[in-house]
């Protein structure tokens, strides 16, 4: 069986003419790939752990008869500062492993790799400007790992990559998440641990495929209520943050794992200290909703119709009240799986609503105001890692 011999320097110049369109020469169907007749079995080029600081594109082309045979580039753990733009000629690439290098820039030609599914860029020196705008054209990308870089922003290009399944952005310097997560409907794993994020936007609730959400090691104090819409979420990591209480919506999730250690969780019942007196507009709105007074955009301005439609129900099930901007924050302790009392944050229309039994997830009456979840609910939380 002939093995693929590396062409000498004299040979290759005749083989590769970069001006040729490779696609004209070979069938796109990989079964007709010419490499099978040249007995190249391996579809991987492995240059990992070689201490190389520059990738010699000539050597790269020389190591294979046909760049279109190569599906996998292992280039991790070197000292690469950049990669050559000629990488675009390896059109069959599905995986590029460039972790643990010294990359400060990436060529826009990477975006021309239409088969690229997995891009690993962990532990480099990439900042917000290092990712080319053209990256958003990588619509078939499924996994991207940008952990351990110098990103200060969530890369906007990712919101255009509609086939993304896993996003790893751990250990960067991201402070802000834009409210654009509604496009990431296929993402199953979102790792944002070890940044400086102060707030999670509402649109996170649109990520209906999310199974694993890691927000650990940030500056979070609260979560948006939309988190309760993540019906497939199984693992939620909130440890090492600034949570003093949690939104009660968390109970609606079907979590198997919840980590909360190292948060300044409130341990004693705390009465909210401030209660902003509602505006006249708020009070009027509440009255209209409570008494079910009909309204439409012929009787009142459209903006007021929208305002009235934005009313949120008081969490006290015995209260039919609603609130708009002015709500009373109450911390109620909920028994989680019979193990610990977790402080959950409730939004109620007035402080008076706290004296009534707290919100109930099922229709069963409970005398014990502290004990909220039913057995069915507690079984859903199989493992809770607390404190």
């Amino acid at each position: 069986m002939a093995t693929a011999a590396l062409p000498t320097g004299d040979d290759y110049e005749g083989d590769y003419d970069f001006d040729d369109d490779f696609d004209d020469n070979f069938d796109d169907d990989e079964e007709d790939c010419i490499c099978s007749s040249q007995t190249i079995f391996n579809d991987t080029i492995d240059y990992s752990h070689r201490n190389i600081s520059k990738l010699d594109i000539n050597e790269l082309f020389a190591s294979t008869k046909n760049p279109n045979c190569i599906k996998n580039f292992q280039l991790n753990s070197n000292m690469l500062l950049s990669i050559p733009s000629e990488i675009e000629h390896f059109q069959s690439l599905t995986t590029i492993e460039l972790s643990n290098n010294q990359l400060v820039q990436l060529p826009s030609e990477l975006s021309l790799l239409k088969n690229l599914k997995n891009l690993y860029l962990k532990n480099n020196f990439l900042d917000d400007l290092a990712l080319p705008k053209e990256f958003e054209q990588l619509k078939q990308l499924e996994v991207i790992n940008l952990g351990g870089n110098r990103l200060k922003q969530f890369p906007y290009q990712l919101f255009q990559m509609f086939n993304l399944k896993e996003i790893y952005l751990g250990s960067n310097q991201i402070t802000f998440l834009p409210d654009l997560f509604h496009t990431l409907i296929k993402v199953e794993v979102l790792y944002l641990g070890g940044n400086q994020i102060g707030n999670v936007p509402d649109s996170i609730g649109y990520m209906r495929s999310l199974v694993v959400l890691n927000l650990s090691g940030n500056r979070l104090r609260t979560l948006p209520r939309s988190i309760s819409r993540l019906t497939r979420l199984k693992s939620l990591s909130l440890h090492n943050n600034q949570f003093s209480a949690l939104p009660p919506d968390i109970i609606r999730l079907d979590l198997q794992e919840l980590s909360l250690r190292n948060n300044p969780l409130v341990v004693r019942f705390v009465r909210d200290l401030t209660y902003d007196v509602p505006t006249l507009k708020e009070l009027t709105g509440r009255t209209i909703k409570f008494h079910k007074i009909p309204y439409d955009d012929r009787s009142i301005p459209k903006s007021l119709v929208e305002y009235l439609n934005s009313a949120k129900s008081c969490l006290n099930p015995k209260c039919k009240g609603v609130y708009f901007e002015s709500y009373h924050k109450n911390i109620k302790f909920v028994d989680f799986c019979g193990k610990f009392y977790l402080p959950l944050l409730q939004f109620l229309c007035t402080p008076a609503c706290t004296s009534a039994p707290t919100f109930q997830m099922t229709s069963s009456e409970s005398d014990d105001t502290e004990n909220i979840p039913t057995k069915d609910m507690t079984n859903k939380f199989k493992k809770v890692l607390l404190g």
């Binding site: 962990k122 532990n123 952990g147 351990g148 751990g170 250990s171 794993v189 790792y191 641990g193 070890g194 199974v211 694993v212 890691n214 650990s216 090691g217 199984k234 693992s235 990591s237 440890h239 198997q256 794992e257 980590s259 250690r261 190292n262 969780l265 341990v267 193990k339 610990f340 009392y341 493992k383 890692l385 607390l386 404190g387």
Partner: protein, 216 residues
């Protein structure tokens, strides 16, 4: 020092002058060159009911190993660290490998009257040690030590020393650890850092001697 495993598994410390003075393990090697050799040395060290804790510490420390040896026990899960039993020590000890994906950590836990040796095989982890709560009132637990364990390093703990939490501090790297428990235990107590509240839990293995266990 040696100690005797008795039926009630209470910790009994017998002080000795030095560990190679007329003890059972003086004839044994202190340099295990493979995981299998480490297991063999452990079985030999446990051939009587007297265990030389210093010897155990030494061989755990000296064991160097390669990733190929640990491959059958390596499994990373996105929601929780995994525990894979390597050897059940004929009931006298349990040797296991734990795999910690990015930033995974344990609860604060005790060791059910057993000795615990922990060796870091790959990566860096943080061990935080807590004093036993007084249980007189609800208060947060007191940390008395916090160390970084790098590759190769071994730490030892038992209930008389205190409680601990183990964490992989990295958001980009995974950690692999080797644990030795003498005698084995399948349940322990976990503690809430804020309230000192204690609860008993049962511990499970992801795999036992390379056979995957049924998921609980």
């Amino acid at each position: 020092m040696t100690e005797t495993l008795n039926k009630s598994n209470e910790i009994q410390l017998i002080h000795k002058k030095s560990f190679d003075d007329n003890n059972n393990t003086s004839y044994l090697s202190i340099q295990p060159n493979s995981l299998d050799e480490l297991i063999e040395l452990l079985h030999n060290a446990f051939s009587t009911n007297e265990i030389d804790i210093d010897y155990i510490y030494t061989i755990m420390n000296n064991y160097k190993g390669t990733i190929n040896e640990w491959l059958p026990y390596i499994k990373f899960q996105s929601d929780h660290y995994t525990r894979s039993l390597v050897d059940n020590g004929n009931g006298k000890f349990n040797l296991m490998i734990l795999c910690w994906a990015e930033n995974q950590g344990s609860s604060i836990h005790d060791h059910t009257n057993s000795h615990c040796f922990l060796k870091c095989l790959q990566g860096t982890l943080i061990e935080t040690r807590y004093a036993w709560p007084t249980f007189e009132k609800t208060e947060s637990m007191h940390i008395f030590n916090r160390v970084e364990l790098t590759e190769g390093q071994v730490t030892y703990i038992n209930d008389s020393i205190g409680l601990h939490r183990i964490e992989n501090p990295s958001h980009t790297e995974k950690v692999i650890t080797l644990h030795l428990y003498i005698p084995p235990f399948d349940h322990c107590n976990i503690f809430n850092e804020h309230t000192s509240c204690m609860n008993e839990i049962k511990m499970i293995f992801h795999s036992i001697r390379e056979q995957l266990t049924r998921n609980e």
